[in-house]
Symmetry: none
Subunit: 195 residues, 4 copies
């Protein structure tokens, strides 16, 4: 039973879609700094006036376009904690090696340093991506595989941290050996926490 508030002009949807698509394209090519509204307008065929009609500022458009980056991964459920984590880590590693958004994300991290709105968006984005780790941890606790006191954030940091580090900071290869090592380390450490 859709309310009347949901009725939107088709033209609006068309314009918005065209702008977001072109924005996304430019973002992955040049990062936030290289995004130009004039260029988006030119290449999407949508006039600047229309763009500013739908997004009050460059930042707003950025926000909107960025928040559509990277869809949610599906959460593995193998029945074994380490296997679940390995699945998540491999999935993330895959993304880090190939996905277009990985070249934009540093722009967001950078902008978040100074723009609270972008910081909020980054936080939401990050939460979405990290939720699967919390979920598999919860399941493992329920199964008694993981100690009840296990800190999901610490576990996440132990796995995601090294992967991110390789992608953006050290720029070394993220091969399966590395992914496996990182995951095993994290699991072993967890075990150590509860003798």
């Amino acid at each position: 039973m859709p309310g009347p508030a949901e009725i939107v002009d088709k033209r609006v949807e068309r314009s918005k879609a065209a702008v977001l698509a072109e924005t996304y394209r430019q973002l992955t090519e040049t990062g936030i700094g290289g995004l130009s509204i004039d260029e988006v307008s030119r290449r999407s065929g949508v006039s600047k006036a229309t763009i500013y009609r739908h997004w009050p500022s460059r930042s707003a458009l950025l926000l909107d376009a960025c928040s559509r980056l990277g869809g949610a991964a599906d959460v593995p459920d193998t029945g074994d904690f380490q296997d679940d984590l390995l699945g998540l880590a491999r999935g993330l590693a895959d993304q880090l090696r190939t996905a277009a958004w990985t070249s934009v994300y540093p722009s967001i991290i950078d902008a978040a340093e100074r723009d609270p709105e972008i910081a909020a968006m980054q936080s939401a984005l990050h939460s979405g991506w990290m939720k699967p780790f919390a979920i598999v941890a919860e399941r493992a606790k329920a199964r008694g595989e993981a100690p009840a006191g296990l800190s999901a954030p610490v576990l996440t940091a132990a796995i995601v941290g090294p992967l991110f580090y390789r992608r953006w900071f050290s720029k070394e290869e993220i091969d399966d050996r590395f992914v496996t090592a990182v995951t095993e380390t994290a699991v072993a450490a967890m075990a150590r926490q509860t003798p």
Copy 2:
């Protein structure tokens, strides 16, 4: 007998210093994206022509200014591998909590995605910062405390990765408990590698 190449006009040094100082100031305030040569010129009192005389482009100036970020930390030498690593991790955590350069670094990481020169600079910066980890690992190996096959990069990733992750991605507190946990985990994992 100093070669003529080393003779530099005092005025040149003065100009360069003023420009770099102002660039650094602006960089930490607004990031790479907010840096304006016009503004640097205005506030440093050095004319744009002079700036472009010394640095061929905005990027070159950026490079020069950024490469002065974060001085080299001194390498701890307690005689115990884990203590050395803990010292390094604590030092890094301290920096991540307080140093001005931490708000600029994402700008560099971002720019490095698209600019090979900046990528090279980032790589050099990174190597400098990470070298202490390699050094203490080397010493530990010499002492027989660490296995000869220990991979310093993997060890580094295990410690630095989670710290960076907290500073820029999850934005959770980097308290001493976390630093300790991260370090211990890394050391334990290393031990596991060589039964």
Copy 3:
């Protein structure tokens, strides 16, 4: 039984009236250059689509609104040529000192330089305003007070010209002394023409 051409929707009349009123208001306030259809729409409550349905262009609306400027003065008939002219001159002088349309008229004169339609409208407007001079001249000729060969346009130019000149060009006061002098000069000149 009125023909169908004469049946006009009441709503149409309402819209037209509201638009013309607002257009006139804006015209006298800001001149032709300052007239904005968007603003007329906003303040009259009539949508832009409706405005463009009734007038094909900005110019057409302008034309319509301007052609309602300055109603026809009544023609004096004192029985004396000079008194009639003085009456007309005084009436005109009054208008030039106080009427709102005097601040719009230069806009029309300007636009007429380049837009033939506006030129035609200006010509019609002008004819209407100048007709009284021709009428009193005609009456004077009939009474034998004025020579049959008297050129009404020349007479009109001699009286209206100086008045307009003061209002828009020299911007000097148009007091009664001036109006009287101008009229008397014109009449005297006419007398001189036919000894």
Copy 4:
């Protein structure tokens, strides 16, 4: 002995000249309302930034360009008042028939209705053009040909008013017969003033 204040960058002079020339061209073609800075920039090859560097606003450029309209006519000195006036009237009539500035002047008159700065500029322009009438009147007074009490403004209005009226309002031909009639009327009226 030119002061150092008069030293102007050649580039500035070049830019200013190009902009003023193009502005003048556009002005005579389209009037004030049709003048576009973007278009001036495009056709003159001078960037908008440079234009705004030299003139703070569209109005300022307008002012500058307009104030160069119509050079000063030379003042006739035949020794006979009526002949002098006839010379001036004929010169003006010539201009009104042919000069490019006559199509711009209504724009100025219009703008002057609402913009005090343009009003001041118009006033200055007007004074310059009307001064010759005051000069020949002065000379005539000195020769005793004209009464000492003769009002130059009234005389000017009597001659210039009808000419302007024909050019912009009635749009009738300004032939020599008309010019002669207007001048003679004015002179005769003046004579009448002093019995």
